[in-house]
């Protein structure tokens, strides 16, 4: 939960400022996999994503004395990774999902909030059960069997557009059911309680 995590992070960051190796390892384990998955939206290549996130952690350690315990450490970490990923995009030729100027522009707009989905997995599981059967079936074919939309369409004997509509419906449903976890007001309150 965000509140626990913020408190936890603030403690870990405070320890980090006193050179705690344990705190660093804890932070690393907590965030590494999530951040690599996050980086996948910028860079399609896994090992480049891993390099970027590792570089971010090295910078966290180097700059540990300057870390601010009063702001969200997670936001700091996410924007650090994001900047490194965007640098990678600008200065090197990395494989992107689309070779398109508008795509690059979308990537450079920074998200206001980022919640790692793995933290919402319980809410996700319960929301999944409530999806309409055909929506859930389509989602699982894509998610678990990793079928392309055209393959799903021919298997279910529906159009690709219907597949897209169902996936979109699933995402929207989950989004509306996970709202509570993302409220920025709540986050601010949690940060306040730390001060």
């Amino acid at each position: 939960m965000p509140s626990e995590e913020l408190k936890n992070d603030a403690l870990l960051v405070a320890a980090l400022k006193f050179d705690s190796h344990e705190a660093f390892v804890k932070i690393f384990r907590q965030y590494y996999a999530n951040l690599v998955r996050f980086t996948a939206r910028y860079v399609s290549d896994k090992s480049t994503c891993e390099d970027i996130v590792q570089e971010a952690f090295i910078r966290v350690w180097t700059n540990r004395k300057k870390l601010d315990t009063n702001t969200s450490f997670r936001s700091y970490l996410v924007s650090l990774v994001q900047n490194l990923a965007l640098n990678e995009l600008r200065h090197r030729k990395v494989k992107m999902m689309y070779d398109d100027m508008n795509h690059e522009k979308i990537l450079t707009l920074s998200p206001d909030e980022h919640v790692f989905f793995s933290e919402l997995s319980d809410a996700y599981e319960s929301a999944l059960e409530k999806l309409e059967p055909e929506v859930r079936e389509t989602l699982l074919l894509s998610r678990q069997e990793k079928l392309k939309y055209t393959e799903i369409a021919s298997r279910l004997n529906i159009s690709v557009r219907t597949v897209e509509a169902r996936i979109s419906k699933a995402v929207k449903y989950l989004q509306q059911n996970l709202q509570i976890f993302r409220s920025p007001i709540l986050l601010i309150l949690f940060i306040r309680t730390l001060l």
């Binding site: 190796h21 996050f38 590792q54 998200p111 980022h114 790692f116």
Partner: protein, 337 residues
């Protein structure tokens, strides 16, 4: 969510974009839409967050994380970096050591096993008056030992049968193993079980067995009797009598420090207290026919006596002058008038 309703198929565009199927016109349209308002932007990134884990581009495994952790710890200088040569030498040395150690290890194991065999001497668990104890046995069984009781077993409990000797009272939760019966030996009878829960009271010849779960066989000098769950076997003048007990708590409650007496004679009650506490009662003969019912939970002896005086028209008088720590306390119970 007006911004969504005004633009019903933007979600479809988002879905197409995130799955890599969008056309360049769609991407342009999406970019414009995202830049239109902070709400749109938030909406888009939320969907992207959900997408990321719903349909991850690749898996990040634990071993990826471990490798990355090592790499980062070395690069930050938290863990010392070893040069290639040092690493090679270390690895070589480790191999040599491993090979050299093998025979030593084998010899060590041999002696260890022999040592264990000879070390399979008796282990004794015992409890003092007024205390109970819970222990795990080497075979995985769990035993609760009532006060003033002793349990002995040979070190490993790994023979053809698992034999334990009991004096006093114990509750057994026997680890299931049908090929190695678990046998509780007492001076009055033995109880054989394979995997079950039962209570054995063997303080004196008024011994009893109560079965909570499963099946046990009770053997004494002349008989061999199987019990069903809920049955209570008591020796009366050396002869076994089986009764159906509706109240296991009466026989097994002591594990939780609860003693239950229901219409029991004062002799039965005092005998039970004598088993658990270091005490001898002298009961006035005029009380012989009286029965009492009460429940005790964790009280010490003087509290119990006080409780007894409160609930029954009796006085409990302790002979305190000659009481040393080892000798039993003597308490006289007399009627009030």
């Amino acid at each position: 969510m007006n911004h969504i309703d005004n633009n019903p198929d933007i979600n479809l565009v988002i879905a197409r974009y995130l799955s890599g199927n969008a056309t360049s016109e769609e991407i342009e349209r999406l970019r414009e839409w995202i830049e239109q308002s902070p709400e749109n932007k938030k909406d888009f990134y939320e969907q992207q967050d959900i997408w990321e884990t719903l349909l991850p581009a690749f898996d990040v495994t634990d071993s990826d994380t471990e490798k990355a952790e090592r790499n980062v710890l070395i690069k930050t200088g938290i863990e010392p970096r070893r040069s290639g040569l040092v690493r090679k030498l270390l690895r070589m040395w480790a191999r040599i050591a491993a090979v050299a150690l093998l025979p030593i290890l084998a010899i060590a194991i041999y002696f260890l096993v022999r040592l264990q065999d000879s070390a399979a001497t008796d282990i004794t668990l015992s409890t003092d008056y007024g205390c109970t104890s819970k222990a795990s046995l080497p075979d995985g069984s769990v035993v609760w030992l009532n006060a003033n009781s002793t349990l002995e077993y040979s070190g490993k409990l790994s023979g053809n049968s698992r034999d334990v000797n009991l004096r006093g009272e114990a509750y057994f939760n026997v680890h299931a193993d049908s090929r190695h019966p678990f046998i509780v030996h007492t001076p009055y009878m033995s109880v054989t079980a394979t995997g079950t829960e039962f209570n054995v009271n063997a303080y004196d010849d008024d011994a009893s067995v109560t079965l909570a779960k499963g099946k046990v066989t009770v053997t004494d000098a002349s008989d061999r009797i199987s019990l069903l769950p809920g049955e209570h076997l008591a020796l009366r003048n050396g002869h076994p009598a089986v009764s159906k007990s509706s109240d296991l708590g009466r026989y097994c409650g002591w594990r939780d420090g609860v003693l239950i007496f229901e219409d029991d004679s004062i002799h039965t009650i005092c005998r039970r207290l004598e088993q658990i506490y270091n005490v001898n009662f002298v009961i006035d003969p005029s009380l012989n026919d009286r029965t009492f019912r009460f429940i005790l939970k964790g009280e010490n002896l003087s509290e119990i006596m006080h409780l007894f005086e409160l609930t029954a028209p009796v006085s409990c008088i302790s002979e305190s002058n000659n009481h040393t720590p080892d000798s039993p306390q003597i308490i006289h119970i007399k009627p009030n008038n």
